[in-house]
Every structure is written in C-alpha cells, then in structure tokens.
C-alpha cells in the first residue's frame, strides 16, 4: 500500500508535472494576494482568456508561445484601458467585451488554421505532456515574477492600500498598475500550460482569497497564499495520477475545497468565528 503511494514519483513526467504545478502554484498564489486586494479578479479572468489568440498566432508564425500569449495579454490590457478612458462604458462591461472578443478570435483562428495545438491543451492545460522548452519558459517567467515582487512588492502593496502615500514617497501608482498587469499576464501565460486558460484564474484568485481569511498581515497573507498555491499544485498533480483525472481541474478543485474549509473554520474571519463573535456581542 505504502509503495503504491510513491508510484507517481517513479515516472519522470509525473515528477515534472508536480514540480511545475507547485512552482506555478506558488507564483500565482503570491500574485493572487495583490489581485484580490486590488479587486482585479475579473482582470485576471480577462487576461487569461485574452492570451489564447496569441498562442495560436505564435504557433502560426513559429515563435515561442509565451511571447505570443504575453503580447496578446498586453494588447487586451491596452484595449481595456483605452476603452475605459475614452468611453462612458463601465469597467465590467469593458472587460467583458474585450476578453470575450479575444477569446472568440482565438477559437476562430484555431478553427480555420487547423494546427497541432489542440484546443483542449490551451483551455485545460496539459502539464503531463509538457515539453522541455515550455518548462524552461515557465521557469524563466516564474523567476522574473518573483524577482519583480521581491524588488517592487512593497511599493505595489502601498499602491493598492494608499496610492497617494506612494506618490508622497516618490513612487508612481500608474507604474505599479502597469507592473501588476504585466505580472498578471506573465503568470497567466505560465499557468496556461499547467492548468489551462480557464482554470489559471482560479490559481490567481483562490489562494489569495483563502489567505485573506486567515490573517490580518500582508506578509503572512503572501506567504500563506504562496504556500497554498505550491502545496495544492503539488498535491493536485499527485492526486490526479490516482484519480486519472484532469491535473488542472484537480489542482483548482483542491484549492476550492481548501477555501471552503477556511471560509467555515478560519479562526477570526471564518463563518463560525464570526457567528461566535456575534453571539458574544449579543
């Protein structure tokens, strides 16, 4: 029985899948804190869908998929910023229009240029069949995102809490906004391979939301979210071997399950704790 549990570690593809899922999970989890506090969950959703046409075009032109995906994400972000600033349309409608347009375009391109990129791979990810060069791309993205957060994370946090104070301290909230967009798009690109374009949004929101319920300190929230992302990434990939199911689905479902447990039992902000506090007050 015990030996059976170690079986996934015997296979090279499983070891790689678990390592990559844990890495992407950690990076996306860390970033999810900023996304949740900025109120940008929808933006993450939009970017992760908007990168799809970039993947297809990159394949057609013959450049690394990450570059095409990233360019498409940035283009979508620019389109959203432009529409928001120049039209009276509200932000949620702008996001909805842009990301469905990009996603639709991606699906359309895929249908008229039959390629070896399978729709399933883009939408749902395929971490088990991941190519070496893709692993390199994802590792580079992860290092760049982590380095950017290590260097500018405090300013980014201040821009979310009190942008005016950032200006007073000599920073630029506009630059921090762009930084967060870029990091978000880059992480969405990395997550695309691991869990797919749809589920990456779960990795970019759920760990942060879970950690937010567990602590009142940003540092701890960031650590918890990164940890949750890494552990669920690893366990999700590991579990999918036995369940014979989708790796992405398994990772994000695990995160969702953890969120529900925390939502109910969190020591201070959980449903039970809030009820207890209300009873004591009454």
């Amino acid at each position: 029985m015990g030996e059976e549990l170690l079986v996934p570690f015997l296979y090279d593809y499983m070891r790689r899948a678990m390592a990559i899922s844990a890495l992407v999970g950690a990076v996306a989890g860390l970033l999810s804190c900023y996304v949740v506090l900025k109120g940008w969950s929808l933006m993450g959703d939009a970017l992760s869908h908007a990168i799809v046409p970039g993947v297809v075009l990159a394949w057609l032109v013959g450049i690394p998929f990450a570059i095409g995906a990233f360019a498409a994400g940035m283009l979508a972000a620019l389109a959203m910023a432009g529409l928001r600033d120049r039209t009276p349309i509200r932000e949620d409608a702008v996001i909805g229009v842009v990301f469905t347009s990009f996603f639709g375009l991606g699906l359309f391109l895929m249908s008229i240029f039959p390629s070896n990129i399978r729709l399933r791979t883009i939408i749902f990810g395929n971490v088990l069949g991941i190519a070496d060069e893709d692993i390199v791309q994802m590792a580079i993205i992860a290092v760049v995102v982590l380095a950017a957060l290590a260097l500018r994370g405090r300013d980014l946090m201040l821009s979310l809490f009190d942008p005016t104070q950032l200006v007073v301290a000599g920073g630029s909230p506009a630059r921090m906004r762009i930084l967060l967009l870029v990091l978000l798009a880059a992480t969405a690109v990395a997550g695309l391979q691991a869990v797919g374009a749809i589920l990456v949004i779960g990795m970019l929101v759920t760990p942060g939301a879970t950690a937010y319920l567990l602590t009142d300190r940003f540092g701890r929230m960031a650590g918890l979210a990164a940890g949750i992302g890494a552990v669920t990434g690893l366990l999700g990939a590991y579990g999918s071997y036995f369940l014979d199911g989708s790796t992405g689905g398994s990772i994000v479902a695990l995160q969702a399950a953890l969120f529900v447990v925390v939502l109910v039992f969190a020591p201070k902000h959980g449903i039970l704790a809030t009820r207890r506090a209300a009873r004591v007050a009454a």
């Binding site: 405090r154 809490f161 104070q165 950032l166 200006v167 301290a169 000599g170 920073g171 300190r217 940003f218």
Partner: protein, 285 residues
Amino acid sequence: MLAQPISLAVEAISVAYPNGHLALKDAGFTLGAGTICGLVGINGSGKSTMFKSIMGLVRPARGRVLIAGGPVEAALKRNLVAYVPQAEEVDWSFPVSVRDVVMMGRYGHMNLLRIPRAVDRREVTAALERVGMADLAERQIGELSGGQRKRVFLARALAQGGQLLLLDEPFTGVDVTTEESIITLLKALRDEGRIILVSTHNLGSVPTFCDQVVLVNRTVLAAGPTSEVFTGPNLLRAFGGALRQHSLPGATPLPADAVIVLSDDERPLVMAPDGQVMGRLPRDI
C-alpha cells in the same frame, strides 16, 4: 533640522481637468511656519484639487506652488509633505497593522527595496508614542475607533518627518471629544513649527483651532487670519445657497435677531449679527 523654516505659497494657480472642467482659477494664498489653516469650502469647490496641486498629483495649467521656497517635486523628495487621507478613502479591512501603516511614512526615506533600517523603526515607535497609539501597534487598522484611526495616519505623517501636513476632512464621523483631542495634538505639532492645512466643510470647528482660513469656491475668495476672514458675509459668499441660516426662536433668552446660526454639516456655527463668531452648537437644530 530644516535649513529654512517651512512655508507654502500657492501662486495664482489655475487647474483644468482633461474633460475641460476648470476646477480652480487664479487661486492663491501663502502660509508661514507654525500655522494651522482651514481650507474651507463646499464639496466641489476645489478643495481636493488644491490638495492635489500641493502634492503634485495635478499640475496647474497656470501659476505655481512653492513649498519651502522650492517646487513641489523637491519638497516631496525631502519628504516634507505628509498627507492624512479622508476616512472613507481608506480600505480598513486591508491586512495591515497600525505599525505597518506608520512604517509607510518611512518609505520615502528608504532605498528602492523599502527595507526598514533601525532608524526607520525608531521613528515609527516614536511617532506611535507621540500620538498615544504604541499599545495598539499590532492591531489591524479596522479594529480601531474613529479617533484612533486618525491618530494612526497622523503618526504616519510624523514618522515621515512631514513639515507640511495636509488633512482631508479629519473630523468627519468623529465625536466631539475625539475631535478635541486631535485638535490638541495638531496644536502641539503647529507649535513645533509645522504648517497644518486642514480641508473641511465643518464650519463649527474652524474657529476653535484654525489660526488662518482660506475660503475656496473655484478660486480663493479670502485668505488670512481667522478673525478677519471667517466672517458671516465671507462664509455666505463661499457657501452660497448650500448654507442653512437659522435665527433662534424667540423663546430663547436672547432677542430673535441677536444671533445667526450657520450650518452646513453637523456642527452649526453661532454668530452675532455683525458677523462676529460666538461659538458653536453641539448639535444641529
């Protein structure tokens, strides 16, 4: 210590927003060190645009702002300008502690990585003690009362070493006792030579703590010592129809035309008919 005492000169600035809205036109006033000045006007009169111009968030189309004799950017670099936001602008559920918020005042003194050094920690602790919040330093900011919340942001301004403090509507949603204790603190900070500019539409509290008043309505209508500027006719010009004027009913010990009560917000102002400020009422009538 500063090479020269702090000063603020707003020289005939005009500010227009991209949508063509002219928020301020030819607005100017000057303040010297050791002053508490009320920036008084209705909502939409250009108070916040004035603040934004002083903090360099908007650039005047004409005119200029000089802080300590130099441009705004230089003053920001020297961390001279500190800002205390309105309570409604702050996300009180944000996962930061009181100490974290006060430490944000030190960011301008740190290097690009914003890693606190010993001097930063010392300044934060000193500022927390100064405003009487040292015991609550580890609390999440949402767990504080209205007055404590204000003190946290004042401590941040102190930790920053700000010499020009901008307070945006500091007394909204704060009870009178708390207001008085904050005013005591502001007066102590003034006596150390700081300039404290307080934007408010709460008329009743202005004469109790402001040495100077700047009345704004799309421009500076009047500026100077409170006793000269904060008068009935000036206030009526600044507030126009937004001001409610009551005469006390005849049942009071005073004759019906003995006082005028001006009220925009929760704390009405009582004036003699000649425009002399007599005091304020604890509640609206």
